[in-house]
């Protein structure tokens, strides 16, 4: 049998699913695009940043989103001397847990300082946005120590 006579069908490998980030993570990411940071209120009034659709301890559904400040405090940190290939940052930086003013839980991000001596727990920092934001955690380029208050 000639090859053109054989019964055949094309095989196209595809991933025919789309994921949505949902009403809470989606709102947070959209907020980043607009250069604001949203948290979500728990039943006890405390504010989770980054927000989740449910309370991580009680599993209650959460819906009350609130905006928090773009300044905050370093809760803990570590130094990354050699960023990995996939890292959004090319040069050495601190990775820190940062509690934004108005939030009760910290989020993970980079603090853009040149050396570990320039940073300590309690340092006040401010968000540095990327020029072009697209609704992604990387819309935050990192955090910068606030001038005149860096100790």
């Amino acid at each position: 049998m000639e090859s053109h006579e054989r019964l055949s069908a094309p095989l196209v490998l595809e991933y025919p699913f789309t994921r949505t980030t949902g009403p809470v993570i989606g709102a947070f990411l959209t907020g980043l695009r607009e250069k604001i940071v949203l948290g979500i209120k728990r039943k006890d009034g405390s504010v989770l940043v980054p927000p989740t659709e449910y309370d991580p301890e009680t599993s209650e559904g959460l819906t009350d989103m609130v905006e928090v400040d773009q300044t905050g405090e370093v809760i803990t940190w570590t130094w990354v001397q050699e960023p990995r290939d996939q890292s959004p940052w090319d040069s050495p930086h601190a990775l820190a847990m940062i509690k934004l003013d108005g939030a009760d839980t910290p989020l993970l991000h980079a603090v853009l300082v040149d050396n570990p001596e320039s940073l300590k727990t309690g340092t006040r920092v401010r968000i540095k946005w990327r020029e072009k934001t697209e609704g992604h955690i990387k819309d935050i380029e990192g955090f910068l120590p606030m001038e005149g208050d860096d100790d």
């Binding site: 980054p50 130094w79 990354v80 990775l95 993970l108 570990p116």
Partner: protein
């Protein structure tokens, strides 16, 4: 709020175990597991057709292939057909599933095994994929950096001291002396290399049997007198990093505090986590017999926890311990914790 402590209805014991860990293994997963599974079956004289249930733990993310554990079943020999299950977790959770199966009353013997072979790829990449996919994973922190965040909190809040870290590293064998520890530069400040795990390839195989059968297969069965596992929040930003409530609760429910512990085998891949776990579970910092092999010196994803159970059982078989604790963890920063108590006495 968690209800009464669960008392095992059927007494189950670990009757044989075999394990292997190497920094870089040339054998593939099947070749690694064949001798181990053969060894435990030979030790007990059981043939695969005598084994009621086979349960394994491994990671498709490590193997880079969906259903990779099906291939490793070649090491067991699944023909004629066997009753089998798998967890995408450390083998300690396969052990738990098997214990539950015993409690259901449907089996008298079981084979449990797990393995991990991280050397061909990047384990740090695999570990990053277990982090929150929207908020954390896109920033690609490696596991040492994440551990460094917890370490600084523990040190700055005075929960542990740098001297304790140095002593723990010496006990774990990652350095010879305190001086050597302090001469190391920071790896993920405030962690030095000696505080962080060396990753190894490896596997563990184990046979369990119920009371009545266990005594036939082993001179001194290591009886499971309590086992429990618990979980904390996934996002470590919402956790108090100076505490591990899930480990504390699992230890309590497993009955750790019902008597003295002679051997404590902890699955802690970092010095900071070893010290924190001892505090949370209520163990002395330097117990008599808990220095066989620290997970800090050789950590094998998916096998370290089951290996801790094997080591605890060996303590019972060697009559070094009458009561031994084994602990396993999974997830970022001790998120999930399993605690098991083994005893030389069935009561």
């Amino acid at each position: 709020m968690w209800g009464k402590k669960i008392k095992p209805m059927r007494k189950v014991a670990v009757v044989a175990a075999a394990s292997r860990q190497e920094e870089k293994m040339l054998d593939n997963e099947v070749e690694m597991m064949v001798p181990l599974i053969t060894e435990v079956r030979t030790k007990t004289g059981l043939d695969q057709t005598d084994i009621g249930f086979t349960c394994s733990g491994s990671s498709d993310f490590l193997a880079g292939q969906a259903f990779s554990f099906v291939m490793t079943l070649d090491a067991v020999g699944p023909v004629p057909p066997i009753a089998e299950s798998h967890v995408e977790m450390d083998g300690a959770w396969a052990f738990y599933e098997t214990w539950v199966k015993f409690q259901m009353g449907v089996i008298d013997t079981a084979l449990v095994y797990s393995y991990g072979k991280p050397s061909p790829g990047s384990l740090q990449d695999v570990l990053s994929t277990q982090l929150d996919p929207y908020y954390i994973a896109p920033l690609w922190p490696d596991a040492h950096a994440v551990a460094g965040l917890q370490a600084r909190t523990l040190l700055e809040q005075g929960i542990i001291t740098v001297d304790q870290l140095a002593d723990c590293a010496v006990r774990a064998g990652t350095v010879e002396s305190r001086e050597e520890y302090f001469s190391q530069p920071m790896l993920s400040d405030p962690l030095r290399k000696a505080d962080c795990p060396t990753y190894a390839d490896g596997g563990v195989a184990m046979i369990l049997a119920v009371e009545g059968k266990a005594e036939e297969l082993c001179e001194k069965p290591a009886w499971i007198t309590g086992i429990d596992h618990r979980i904390d929040a996934h996002h470590f930003g919402v956790r108090d990093l100076t505490a591990v409530p899930s480990a504390r609760l699992a230890a309590e429910k497993a009955g750790v505090h019902d008597g003295p512990i002679d051997i404590a085998e902890l699955h802690a891949a970092y010095t900071t986590q070893d010290l924190l776990l001892r505090k949370e579970i209520g163990l002395p910092e330097t117990p008599n017999h808990s220095q066989r092999s620290y997970s800090i010196k050789a950590d094998t994803l998916m096998a370290s926890g089951l290996l801790r159970i094997a080591e605890a059982a060996r303590g019972i078989w060697d009559v070094q311990a009458n009561r031994a604790l084994a602990h396993a963890t999974a997830g970022p920063l001790l998120q999930q914790n399993l605690v098991c108590v083994l005893s030389g006495e069935s009561n």
